[in-house]
């Protein structure tokens, strides 16, 4: 089943929560409303026609270009995207679900945007969401154990954000 058909099924089920379909991309994706993500992924997993029982990957992308010259070549509004790659062992099809959110909650630098956690739907989302929190500072609401996973627990900042500043010192170890 291709992403257009999946979009049709989702639009029928969830109506306004399904925001956009980008079908001309290499891997077509569907943008959905963040507050409905748990219901949508549960539906994708359990529906007989879809059976998306494998969450291949969960990650985020920070859309912000600090370099003005580069920004002109690929213009976009600064925002943050959470990307879910799903596939099905039985049906052997795959799809991409995305959530778009502001870089900071209420545009207040430093306050983490909030997205419902899907750790209850897929077991592996637990670790993937911890990594996304660690790297991007996304607050997955309802996560059982939202702690840093790759960086030390007392690390400051979220390294994969485009405006991240490298620390000059960590526990007496000098940076550059």
């Amino acid at each position: 089943m291709n992403t257009e058909e999946i979009h049709g099924i989702l639009a029928e089920q969830f109506g306004d929560a399904i925001l956009e379909l980008k079908s001309e991309a290499i891997d077509p994706w569907i943008v959905v409303a963040g507050d409905k993500i748990v219901e949508i992924l549960t539906f994708l997993r359990d529906d007989e026609r879809l059976q998306f029982d494998h969450l291949n990957d969960l990650t985020a992308v920070d859309y912000l270009e600090m370099d003005e010259k580069k920004a002109k070549k690929f213009p976009y509004e600064p925002h943050l995207e959470i990307v879910y790659h799903l596939s099905s062992f039985g049906q052997k099809h795959r799809t991409v679900i995305k959530i778009s959110t502001t870089r900071w909650k209420d545009d207040e630098p430093g306050s983490h945007p909030e997205i419902p956690s899907v750790a209850g739907v897929f077991g592996i989302a637990d670790w993937h969401e911890r990594e996304a929190y660690d790297m991007f500072g996304i607050n997955f609401v309802g996560h059982p154990n939202l702690k840093r996973i790759l960086c030390p627990e007392d690390w400051e900042g979220h390294p994969l954000r485009k405006d991240y500043e490298f620390p000059l010192e960590y526990h007496g170890i000098r940076g550059q």
């Binding site: 990957d57 920070d62 690929f74 790659h85 077991g123 592996i124 996973i149 790759l150 030390p152 390294p159």
Partner: protein, 412 residues
């Protein structure tokens, strides 16, 4: 032998002890690198396992945002350093998918031969190290002896022994070599003169012939070894539902009875490499399993890898047969500063340890906006916590070892 008692504490003869936190790692040899497991133990019974990772974190993904794809290839080498060829392949194919490039037949053929040899080398280490975890020392030495020859053959191909950077977007860096001096290990094992000159291709065939006769030996040493069976059979059984939920892939998934291999079920750009090749995908349960083995337990995970080695030998043979008739060049041009389109793609390939995924977002520039490496070991490791609940302390290395993890890939 299964330690399935209603209440595991019965083994303790009802002597209640205090719960104790034990750190296993990060320098423990059986954690396969710098993995720290925090165990909550009550005597010999472990009630909770918390893996702590990140000791090898190098922020490879951030580095990838500042480099063009061919420059990032060496960083993929350092992820799963026991199967660096397969890491190169995954990332190269992702870039090719993004820019819409189809590599020539010759390049695909070279990639297949090398990738499957890489799979053999990787599974040999997995097998040997697992024996070592369980106290069997000699299979480890045999496995490394065999792997050494593959590394020598790789060295002839691309000049490196561990971090190859051999497969790049567009193909491979060098064609397969012609005449070589026989690798010293191979000369010794086959009784040939160390000065013998032969075709690289013939050296590979000579090695495969020899390896095939050794597989039985490994089965005697480990697979059919009574002690090995008692340490692995029925321990750490992973149900298919849990394997799906926790995103387990590769041999771990197939040992839980799910028939899924990206070489057959993956995306077209990857499966076209394997078109016209005959190979089977070993999936549990096995008729050859000894008594006490359950679906998805440690023994089955180990056995799936052993079976995959046999299939990989067949694939390399078929690849070498097709090498002469393969058309085109071994490499198509990919400029270092070539711009990546403002699009994105995700691709998973079947690396020896599972499905390795790369996600690249292009931004009309040479450097991608985002590179993401989804590690298969990361997902496979995440099941240790539920899998090791209420097992014996001595079974923890047995379970963790059977997952065959490489920390370089988990921490990136």
């Amino acid at each position: 032998m299964s330690m399935q008692v209603e209440d595991p504490r019965v083994i303790e003869f009802d002597v209640r002890t205090d719960e104790m936190l034990v750190n296993m790692g990060p320098q423990h040899p059986s954690t396969h690198g710098v993995l720290r497991l925090l165990l909550k133990t009550d005597g010999e019974v472990v009630s909770e396992v918390t893996p702590h990772i990140g000791y090898l974190h190098r922020c490879a993904e951030k580095i990838g945002e500042n480099l063009s794809p061919p420059q990032w290839i060496p960083y993929t080498d350092r992820m799963d350093y026991l199967a660096a060829m397969n890491m190169n392949l995954g990332f190269s194919l992702t870039i090719e998918k993004l820019i819409g490039m189809n590599v020539p037949e010759k390049a695909m053929n070279c990639r297949l031969i090398i990738a499957e040899l890489g799979r053999i080398a990787s599974h040999l280490v997995g097998m040997g190290a697992y024996g070592l975890d369980l106290g069997s020392f000699s299979p480890f030495l045999y496995a490394f002896r065999e792997r050494e020859i593959i590394l020598d053959l790789f060295e002839e191909t691309c000049g490196a022994r561990l971090t190859y950077s051999y497969m790049t977007p567009g193909g491979v860096t060098h064609d397969l070599p012609g005449m070589i001096t026989i690798p010293p290990g191979l000369a010794q094992l086959t009784g040939n003169s160390p000065d013998m000159e032969l075709e690289w291709k013939d050296a590979v065939l000579m090695f495969l012939d020899w390896l095939e006769t050794r597989i039985r030996e490994y089965h005697t040493l480990l697979t059919r070894n009574a002690i090995f069976i008692r340490r692995t059979a029925g321990i750490g059984a992973l149900s298919p539902e849990m394997a799906k939920s926790f995103g387990c892939t590769g041999p771990v998934l197939r040992s839980s009875g799910i028939d899924y291999d990206l070489r057959r079920d993956g995306e077209g750009i990857y499966t076209r490499m394997y078109e016209g090749y005959n190979f089977e995908i070993p999936v549990a349960p096995f008729d050859a399993a000894p008594r006490g083995v359950e679906l998805g337990d440690n023994w089955t995970r180990f056995y799936v890898r052993m079976m995959e080695v046999v299939q990989a030998i067949g694939l390399v043979r078929q690849g070498l047969d097709k090498y002469e008739s393969a058309e085109g060049s071994y490499r198509e041009g990919f400029k270092l500063g070539a711009k990546l389109p403002a699009d994105e793609c995700y691709l998973e390939t079947e690396s020896p340890r599972g499905q390795m995924g790369f996600y690249v977002v292009g931004a009309n520039a040479a450097e991608p906006l985002r590179t993401r490496a989804k590690s298969s070991c990361f997902c496979n490791l995440s099941i240790t916590a539920p899998l090791c609940e209420n097992t014996l302390l001595g079974d923890i290395p047995s379970v963790v070892g059977s997952l065959d993890i490489v920390m370089g890939e988990i921490d990136r």
